[in-house]
Symmetry: C2
Subunit: 332 residues, 2 copies
């Protein structure tokens, strides 16, 4: 089943989307918002699945689905925990900065803002005077209720939906441990989710070993920035992160556990090669820059500026978009 | 106006509470939950204020108000930012640990869990094997929508409600900067709000200069642990914290900005004296212990254990409870 929230009020209007993302049908007759569906999933999911079935068969009224009309599937959520789950990224940034990695820091879950996701096609606002704006692309799980101490099997069973996430980050104020320079949380200026969130069964065999095994395609101004494999070089998959998030306290329905940026190492174990040179490339600009520092000595990739467009997407084995695309224009 | 949420489903059942906390009336005819009221405050607040007026005059059906039937006023919220806004506390802890305070760290806002507040009278669960369980008592503002870059006046105007907060903390895994030992956020195991949240106008002249000027009474097993003045020795008041939280991004309706523990310095500028010796005492056990280390050399105050009860309350000039009491028993 594929679900989306069209822009409407604070919580969106839930729709069921066809597998090929071309058509949608209103879920209002079942439940008006995704949060309400998650709050009582056992009750609503079967009826939503039935709608999805009818949509595929054309036996329910439907309308053309436009990704640009979408809010993030959960326009606001009660909780988000985020981890740099691909250790190559923080390692590379620290190495480029000449800093020592504090032992055991990578992969730690931090609380992250979840009260106002950008829509997946919303503009990014008026650039950044300091010129250090970045977009970090990764994956997100949306959970049901997860009891404290849930094991991997329980965590996997509690993942209701999977989607993509983009975090808008300003790098000028970051310390190597991810904190802001004044010791507060890094000001992730905003974040967005892909237009469509899908139940794990939609992912087929790409959803295995507690992680999603597909390439994440990131384009900047229609040129590939990277296409790293999300199932490779990862420290913890989404299932392990959900279990980790539930280690000290239970998680409520609609919790988002996100991970990013996706980061592949080079074949020599060092920094990944740029996409333009046939490498897997990068899922954020900071990693591209760090790799340039470590391999070439000078930085060619600029941070985001007015006029830039970043596009993030993941395709299935047949080349069809799974979640629709996150696409943010940086305005002047 | 004083508002509370009786335990009911995930979001509680909104009631208007009399000024003396003895009676309540259902707000359902206006709006069923506090989050919904905050989402459209201009529309609902006048009708809720009218109910409060009628409740004081006995001209509306009412029932006896029992604090132990309450959920936290917002049983779950979309965002919480927390700061150690009384700098004496982090300074003392670092001094006692023999650590240097990273410059500028105190007072930084961190994202904190808001998806599942404990009820103000809920038990604290089965103790802590490591024996380092603590309760940190402070203040919280519940905001309406706050635009990015709001100044102090706009931040003050956006504070809809004020209440008390208690954070359940495990100290064994904390680094001096408040992070968990593995670099993730400190596992604040849980948090609760006072039974009743009040509009700032209910606080009279105690609400001035962007802060609440009343003593916070903290009792452990009916003995005073502390009665620090919330209006003294503070780095940032609630209004400044709301403005700071909105510096990089707008805040959505129902955001909780919390601060604690309240901490007063001694008259010599050093650690505050214990309540038992006539001092202001402490609003958490870790500060009592740190003060013992720094003044006496050995620690007499144990962390929370099974059978302990902590009670947190604030009274007005007439000795009446403003918000009702947070009271947690630690179960065996």
């Amino acid at each position: 089943m594929k679900l989306a929230s069209l822009k409407h009020g604070r919580d969106g209007r839930l729709v069921v989307v066809s597998r090929d993302l071309t058509r949608a049908t209103d879920a209002f007759i079942v439940v008006p918002t995704l949060q309400q569906a998650l709050d009582d999933w056992e009750r609503y999911a079967p009826a939503l699945e039935a709608l999805a079935e009818q949509l595929e068969h054309g036996s329910v009224p439907s309308f053309r689905f436009h990704e640009h009309e979408c809010a993030s599937p959960l326009p606001r959520a009660y909780a988000r925990r985020h981890a740099a789950a691909w250790p190559g990224y923080p390692a590379l940034l620290r190495q480029a900065a000449g800093a020592e990695a504090p032992s055991g820091t990578a992969g730690g879950l931090r609380h992250a803002a979840s009260d106002a996701f950008l829509g997946p096609r919303d503009p990014l606002g008026p650039g950044d005077p300091a010129g250090s704006l970045d977009l970090s692309a990764g994956l997100a799980a949306i959970t049901g209720d997860v009891p404290q101490g849930a094991d991997a099997a329980a965590a996997a069973g509690a993942i209701r939906l999977v989607t993509l996430v983009a975090e808008v980050i300003r790098h000028d104020r970051l310390r190597p441990d991810g904190l802001d320079l004044d010791g507060a949380d890094a000001p992730a200026l905003a974040a967005s989710l892909a237009p469509v969130a899908v139940t794990p069964d939609e992912l087929g065999e790409a959803w295995r070993d507690g992680a999603l095994h597909r390439k994440l395609q990131v384009h900047r101004n229609d040129k590939p920035l990277g296409c790293p494999e999300a199932g490779a070089d990862l420290g913890s998959g989404l299932v392990a992160l959900v279990a980790e998030a539930a280690r000290h306290r239970s998680l409520g329905a609609g919790t988002i556990v996100s991970a990013g940026p996706v980061s592949n190492r080079g074949i020599d174990g060092g920094p990944g090669r740029p996409a333009a040179e046939g490498g897997a490339g990068y899922a954020c600009l900071a990693e591209a820059r760090a790799a340039e520092v470590l391999t070439g000595g000078w930085v060619r990739t600029p941070y985001l500026a007015a006029g830039d467009r970043l596009r993030i997407e993941m395709k299935d084995g047949g080349g069809h978009s799974i979640f629709g695309a996150i696409e943010h224009d940086v305005t002047g």
